[in-house]
């Protein structure tokens, strides 16, 4: 564990005696803690999160509510992003996120520390979100391989995108493009792409979460990536911003 990880953990321990069990109190105390240079604990670099995560999990497992709260503070934004991306419905996304954290809290004792807490949490949240999506759109999310011929995803007319798209578009504009394009993807492909390429789960973890084979994950990921590339091509090629 690095120095910053130790400091954060010490700050968390110190705060426990000041504000036990209250999220706003914890947030405010963390913001004021002299060992933290940032006023927003959500924005700590991910390397720090990885380094001390197991300490927080161990403390939370031992019954320390404020350690669990720190884990919530750290991952709530990402978990909402995931449930929103899967369900595309704000009410479902919020319910799925709440239930995911409640379940994580209730089942913390069962968590095997061989994997990252975040990965475990992502899988719980993805399941909650998928359950709601399947309920709302029962015919759109299948466990079977989507019927599609190989020729459907063979790209036509490949053209260079020119200079790096990241440099050509403003951050907000790029975000709108990425969001619009992924929304057009059929749910089967979107969910596998989200878990593998946005959240960084392994093929095996994605397969277990969605309830499909690893071969199906690979097949959907290939098609999902190619479909997204094709849809992005529309923006990156036709936009008048070419240099």
């Amino acid at each position: 564990m690095g120095v910053r990880g130790v400091r954060l953990y010490c700050a968390t321990l110190a705060i426990r005696s000041i504000e036990p069990g209250l999220l706003p109190g914890l947030l405010a105390s963390l913001a004021k803690a002299p060992t933290l240079s940032t006023s927003n604990p959500h924005r700590l670099p991910s390397t720090v999160a990885r380094e001390d995560e197991h300490l927080l999990v161990a403390a939370a497992k031992a019954g320390d509510a404020s350690a669990f709260e720190e884990l919530v503070n750290r991952y709530e934004r990402k978990i909402f992003r995931l449930t929103m991306n899967i369900t595309r419905n704000r009410e479902d996304a919020e319910d799925a996120m709440q239930d995911a954290f409640m379940k994580a809290y209730s089942h913390l004792a069962k968590f095997q520390e061989a994997s990252r807490f975040y990965t475990w949490l992502v899988r719980i949240a993805a399941n909650e979100a998928l359950m709601r999506l399947r309920k709302r759109r029962p015919n759109q999310v299948s466990l079977d391989e989507p019927i599609e011929s190989e020729d459907d995803f063979i790209p036509q007319q490949i053209e260079d995108w020119g200079p790096s798209p990241e440099q050509r578009f403003a951050q907000t504009e790029m975000r709108d493009i990425l969001r619009g394009v992924i929304d057009e993807l059929p749910p089967d492909f979107r969910i596998v792409f989200l878990l593998r390429d946005v959240e960084g789960l392994s093929t095996e973890e994605t397969a277990e979460t969605v309830g499909i084979s690893e071969a199906a994950v690979k097949s959907r990921l290939l098609r999902g990536r190619l479909k997204l590339r094709q849809k992005l091509d529309r923006h990156f090629r036709q936009n008048g911003k070419k240099h």
Binding site: G21, L22, L23, P24, A65, F68, E69, V72, E76, R77, F80, R81, M84, N85, R90, E94, M97, Q98, F101, M102, Y105, S106, E150, F153, I154, P155, I158, E159, D160, W161, S164, P165, E166, M174, R175, L178, R179, I182, F193, D197, V198, E199, G200, K218, L221, L222, R225, L226, L228, R229, L232, D233
Partner: protein, 79 residues
């Protein structure tokens, strides 16, 4: 290997999930095919753009309701 062979393996190729002999075949094809080279590059850019991307706002009221719900649950379970 032809273009179709590359396209069907493009995902595994960029993930480094292929046997060395298959990678060699793909790279031999890429040296001769500009379209497949662009396709591989654009697929990599696509994956890169989405990785850990923050596409959704996290409304403060959603955050507040989550904290309130969890606080109530923790209090309840401690009793």
């Amino acid at each position: 290997m032809n273009c179709k062979g590359v396209i069907t393996r493009i995902s595994s190729y960029i993930d480094g999930d292929l046997e060395a002999t298959v990678v060699e075949e793909i790279e031999l094809h890429l040296k001769q095919c500009q379209e497949c080279t662009i396709l591989v590059q654009q697929t990599k850019v696509t994956v890169h753009l989405y990785y850990d991307s923050d596409l959704t706002d996290y409304p403060v009221e959603v955050q507040a309701r989550l904290h309130e719900t969890l606080r109530r649950k923790i209090r309840r379970e401690r009793k």
